[in-house]
């Protein structure tokens, strides 16, 4: 395959996240993702792709978060906007991904809090924001409408659309001009099918990022890697329904046995290693955004990407 790769012919489409003041938003930066015509490190040197971005994941109810992160980070986790500020200023992330874990509470109905926390996080950081909305299908409609409205003008990335559950998140993206994370369970055809469903409901291709679902290292990551590669090759061979940038989050990394049961003295290092290698490998497979939760993983990834991508800036090839 490698020798053919310079002539694949296709190209990944673009997705823009975040809107600066000049773009009628309030972000300090916006990113234009996509545009690759090859997989990184395969084929010609010039088609390295754009340097991947690192998203730092936070949440609005830390009782549903990994104790490794909460105990390392301390009280900061109970102040969501401050946590977002730290992600930008202390950890050096490129994006913040906010999980509305409060919606996991039984019988959750404090909908105004969704608007509030989204707005506060937007004030807490100037970085483009990914918002992971509802955790319960019954309240999707209420939640996503508020996420969408609260972020109007900011070109958020909203998640997560799945084959059986995509209408509310798609509606919010369409109503308030955001993009959508389209997640399928490690299956190229289901990824394609979901993108078609999103297109049919009216979401444009340049508002979709593919999440192929990322297993953690040792727990299925190789399947994710393989499917990412296949999605990318299918797109480059001309399948426009798969020609979107990808986002990867090996979110189970912090709950696998090896990390959970690690000697407390080195537990943070083990957690960081587990996150780092999955994220790095995802980037090599073609992910434009990789997501992590441990603060110490961010600078390591940034350093690795800078070295491997020879100091390129986001959007630069």
């Amino acid at each position: 395959m490698a020798e053919n790769s310079p002539d694949l012919g296709g190209k990944i489409g673009y997705v823009v996240l975040g809107a600066t003041k000049a773009e009628d938003g309030t972000r300090s930066v916006s990113y234009r993702l996509g545009g690759e015509s090859d997989l990184p490190f395969i084929g010609m040197k010039t088609s390295l792709g754009s340097i991947p971005l690192v998203a730092f994941e936070i949440c609005d109810d830390p009782s549903y978060w990994s104790p490794i992160v909460t105990s390392y980070t301390g009280d900061l986790v109970s102040d969501t906007p401050e946590w977002a500020t730290a992600a930008e200023q202390q950890y050096g992330a490129d994006l913040v991904r906010l999980y509305l874990t409060s919606t996991k509470r039984r019988g959750f109905d404090d909908f105004p809090s969704i608007t509030k926390v989204t707005e506060e996080v937007l004030s807490g950081t100037g970085l483009p924001l990914v918002v992971e909305g509802s955790n319960e299908p019954a309240i999707d409609s209420e939640i996503f409408q508020r996420c969408g409205e609260a972020g109007q003008g900011e070109r958020l990335l909203l998640g997560t659309a799945e084959a059986g559950r995509y209408r509310s998140v798609a509606a919010a993206a369409m109503a308030y001009n955001h993009s959508v994370v389209a997640q399928s369970p490690i299956d190229i055809n289901l990824a394609k099918q979901l993108n078609i469903l999103l297109r049919e409901i009216g979401v444009k291709a340049d508002h979709i990022m593919i999440d192929p679902y990322t297993g953690s290292l040792g727990y299925g990551f190789e399947y994710s890697y393989s499917v990412m590669e296949r999605i990318r090759y299918a797109a480059l061979k001309g399948d426009t329904d798969l020609a979107m940038p990808m986002i990867a989050s090996a979110m189970d990394s912090l709950s696998v046995k090896e990390v959970r049961e690690a000697d407390p003295v080195i537990r943070d290092d083990i957690a960081v290693a587990w996150e780092f290698y999955a994220a790095l490998s995802s980037a090599v497979a073609g992910a434009s955004i990789v997501c992590v939760r441990h603060p110490k993983t961010v600078p390591l990834l940034k350093l690795a990407f800078r070295e491997l991508w020879a100091g390129k800036k986001p959007g630069e090839f």
């Binding site: 409609s141 996503f144 409205e149 798609a170 509606a171 369409m174 299956d187 055809n189 409901i201 299918a234």
Partner: protein, 676 residues
């Protein structure tokens, strides 16, 4: 009676007059879309009387443009009508409404307009619209009529009173227009895209009471251009509105626009889930049973005209559960009548097979076999919890509606437990089963232009593509051409896609230009050519699910078939599992093919290699299973003795033994054209 043609002419004339009377600058509040209809049609932002008249002329005196200009002018500032009237609805609220439409919490939009003779009818219609998740807009006399019946109005009740006159109905149009601009990617100044969006995507209907004034008639009649069905409750003569009785109005409108209410819950006192599918109900747990040789029983699904099917109607003909003795066997006929615009007779048997799954979804109900061989049980626990025979009907009807929302508009179920009625119904059903069998058996690849693909297995065999034809079922044996067709209609972006045959490249090999094109694309460029009727050159790829493997044995100039259940050695020197490992995973292996058992009986089986005369070895289990049909087929082909000449494991498990056997019986393959 109002004569429509005259009314429309007069209405338009009167609107024109009103339009000419407005003056100065004006604007709707809280919108970025100016006068939305004018803006969408022409791309021109209208803010003065002069511009309004220009756009009116530019759009061939469009009544919507006239109405919105007149309203935007007259309702400025203090001209705005007091509550409950909403007047023009701003963009922010509209964005939320559009959100609910896309997200499915609102199924569609309805305009109710005119002068209801009595408020009961109006409130009944509005209640039905509310129950069916429609967002309803009201304009003119219908508003005071509803208020007088104490019907609660407002956005939170999904009943929105736009204004006191009929021309306030134009807000319904400016809403649809802005939804098209905000959500549909329609660009201002492109009336073609706007009309296409309104016709194809906007789920909107209008229900008209008698007594509409001429302006209202002109406005409502213009909705037809947007593809909005206009359901009249009478009082209008001529024209092209559909007249119905009040009780049918909502259903008629929604059906015409294809708006479907989705059903999610099954209202019976028993849990229903695929999780219960595998459970069985043993004799000691059983309260009552039907069929299974203990009593006559059958099931039948028929498509009927919509007028003959009442959605959700469940009838029990004969004794109900309370008059049935515990532990007894009772006759049963399950008759499912379905209606749907795209439902066809061909689909009947495929849907009928679903009754089996649905009954098994019930925690306390169990079903095996099909047609007049069914065997059904209901458990003691279920009966204790209040389950009746009627509820099994309800379960079937509801599951059909849930699983086939686009295919079926109405499902009614009759559960027959009366012995004489079951016997009579069974006889009739048997005639229908026979007719169906004839129809499917008679279907040839040459009768159709479309085959169907199956890429379900690409999860583990990334480049495998099954092509399913009427004469070649999927290699797993689970999906026939009809199944593929229905699966596509139910889920148009799913794993079964239509494949145009295209130009025939090789009739004997079954190679088609369209099939090659499709296979190349669906295999991500890996497979360039595919012969449907040959295993020697470019055979179909294999995933891993094949019922059988067919492979050439060049030493005997023949082809052997081995099935998955056969565990022993084969004359090829390899067992099924070794062979499967060799050919699976989406590869194309000349000389080998994964096939279904039924394909052995097809006229297309090994067509290019000379047909079934090539078959030299087949395990006895499959031979026995197919015996009746295979012997019949061989007789038809003029080979009454071939069945005995096909070896099985009792005759040969090695190549040497096979050669000896074939020589002894003088198998025709030995004298055929060399395979290689």
């Amino acid at each position: 009676m109002t004569e429509m043609k005259t009314a429309i002419t007069l209405g338009n004339a009167s609107l024109k007059k009103k339009l000419n009377a407005i003056e100065g600058p004006f604007a709707y509040e809280e919108t970025a879309y100016h006068l939305p209809v004018a803006y969408a049609l022409t791309g021109r932002p209208v803010h003065t009387a002069q511009e309004a008249i220009e756009v009116y002329n530019l759009t061939n005196e469009n009544p919507f443009v006239a109405c919105e200009s007149v309203l935007a002018f007259s309702e400025q500032g203090p001209g705005r009508e007091p509550a409950p009237y909403t007047g023009f609805i701003g963009d922010a609220v509209l964005r939320k409404l559009g959100y609910s439409l896309v997200d499915g919490s609102i199924l569609g939009l309805a305009l109710v307009i005119g002068t209801p003779g009595n408020s009961d009818t109006a409130s009944r219609i509005c209640r039905e619209l509310q129950e069916k998740y429609m967002l309803t807009f009201l304009a003119g006399d219908v508003v005071p009529s509803l208020s007088s019946a104490s019907v609660k109005l407002g956005l939170e009740y999904r009943l929105i009173p736009l204004g006191s006159t009929s021309i306030h109905g134009v807000h319904f149009v400016d809403i649809i227009t802005r939804v098209a601009l905000m959500f549909g990617g329609v660009v201002p100044g492109d009336p073609g895209r706007l009309l296409a969006y309104a016709n194809q995507r906007a789920k909107a209907i209008a229900i008209v009471f008698p007594g509409l004034d001429n302006e209202g008639i002109a406005l409502v009649d213009a909705l037809r251009l947007l593809g909005i069905p206009i359901i009249s409750l009478g009082g209008y003569e001529g024209g092209e509105w559909t007249t119905t009785l009040p009780q049918d109005a909502v259903r008629e409108g929604m059906e015409r626009k294809g708006i479907k209410v989705t059903v999610t819950a099954i209202p019976i006192p028993m849990s229903c889930s695929p999780a219960f599918e595998g459970k069985s109900i043993r004799k000691e747990e059983m309260y009552v049973e039907f069929g299974g040789g203990r009593s006559p029983a059958f099931e039948l699904l028929r498509v009927k005209p919509a007028s003959e099917v009442t959605d959700g109607l469940i009838r029990v003909m004969g004794p109900e559960i309370e008059s049935v003795k515990e532990g007894s066997a009772v006759p049963l006929g399950i008759i499912v009548d379905v209606a749907g615009k795209s439902m066809r007779k061909d689909f009947e048997p495929v849907l009928e097979r679903r009754i089996h799954n649905f009954v098994n979804y019930g925690e306390g109900s169990w079903h095996v076999a099909q047609r007049d061989l069914i065997w059904v049980r209901i458990s003691k626990d279920a009966v204790k919890n209040g389950i009746k025979i009627e509820h099994i009907g309800k379960l079937i009807a509801t599951k059909f509606r849930i699983d086939f929302p686009d295919l079926l508009d109405a499902v009614q179920v009759t559960m027959v437990t009366d012995l004489q009625a079951v016997l009579a119904g069974k006889k009739e059903a048997e005639g229908i089963y026979e007719e169906r069998d004839r129809r499917i058996q008679g279907m040839k690849d040459t009768d159709v232009d479309l085959f169907y693909s199956c890429t379900l297995c690409q999860t583990f065999a990334p480049n495998h593509v099954c092509i399913i034809t009427p004469e070649r079922p999927a290699l797993c044996g689970a999906i026939s051409w009809l199944d593929g067709k229905i699966a596509y209609e139910i889920s148009p972006s799913g794993a079964n896609q239509p494949v145009e045959k295209g130009v025939v490249i090789d009739r004997d090999k079954g190679e088609f230009e369209g099939v090659n094109r499709f296979v190349k694309k669906a295999s991500h460029g890996e497979v360039e050519r595919c012969s449907l009727y040959s295993i020697m050159e470019y055979p179909m790829t294999c995933c891993g699910c094949f019922e059988c493997i067919a492979l050439m044995l060049p030493e005997v100039n023949g082809i052997m078939v081995v099935n998955r259940e056969y565990k022993g050695d084969t004359p090829s020197g390899m067992s099924f599992s070794t062979l499967a490992g060799t050919i699976g995973g989406g590869a194309q292996t000349p000389g080998f093919a994964g096939i279904s058992k039924n394909y052995i009986l097809s006229d297309r089986f090994l067509q290019d290699e000379g047909g079934i005369e090539r078959l030299v070895w087949l395990p006895s289990l499959v031979k026995e299973e197919l015996k009746e049909r295979l012997v019949k087929k061989l007789n038809e082909l003029g080979h009454p003795d071939l069945f005995e000449k096909i070896a099985d494991e009792t005759k040969a498990t090695t190549l040497e033994e096979l050669v000896a056997f074939l020589d002894e019986v003088q198998h025709p393959a030995l004298a055929m054209k060399p395979l290689l």
